[in-house]
Symmetry: C2
Subunit: 126 residues, 2 copies
């Protein structure tokens, strides 16, 4: 079976992927002192800027780095997610961003020590 | 072969998908008169707000609607993309958003008349 897993039987195939890798960096900012904090308060905006510049410098084709609103993993931020894989990372430094660019986007592997997992969950809503 | 297509042979599997469907609505705004226009100038912010409210009202589980920075398909905006499928839509009205919620997120199909394809390309850079 060669259909895309999301295509219903007999359905037209989806268009080809528009981007090979689409990175979304949470840049949500909450007021200081908010119980969940926020990715921007944890420095995500500078990391987004750095990732955009480095992705361009590396000549990565078909890769787009975007900012996004709150991805709801605030406690583990700065949070970013790479699609279509749906792999999440929490880079704290420029070196972490470099590691993600190298391992995931250049080599097609994973920067496993920086990944979020299904165990990184927000606290229950109050 | 049951490995995820992105996992190298012998690599650990990725964590399970954190969201079943992750929607990114471009809310980039350019100055009036910009040659490419922008999704916000085409009304994307109100459509994002509506989609967030309706997704909640419909009780869609595992679906998150986020705003995003410029997705670079400005001429065809308002643009949104749904991952992990990587399917792009251009909703102009609330009724279009309803059609996407119903066909794609509730029924697992496609609102095909609203989809962007590989032929919807930005003009060459000047």
């Amino acid at each position: 079976m060669t259909d895309a897993p999301t295509a219903a039987a007999g359905a037209l195939p989806d268009p080809p992927a528009y981007f090979r890798a689409h990175v979304f960096v949470c840049c949500n900012r909450r007021p200081d002192g908010h119980r969940r904090g926020s990715c921007a308060a944890r420095g995500s905006e500078a990391l987004r800027d750095y990732m955009k510049v480095r992705a361009k410098e590396l000549g990565l084709k078909g890769v787009r780095v975007n900012q996004a609103g709150c991805l709801d993993r605030c406690e583990f931020g700065p949070a970013l997610v790479i699609y279509p894989e749906g792999v999440w990372y929490s880079p704290k430094t420029r070196e972490d961003v470099d590691a993600i660019l190298q391992a995931h986007l250049l080599e097609g592997g994973r920067a496993r020590h920086l990944m979020l997992t299904e165990h990184d969950l927000p606290p229950p809503k109050v």
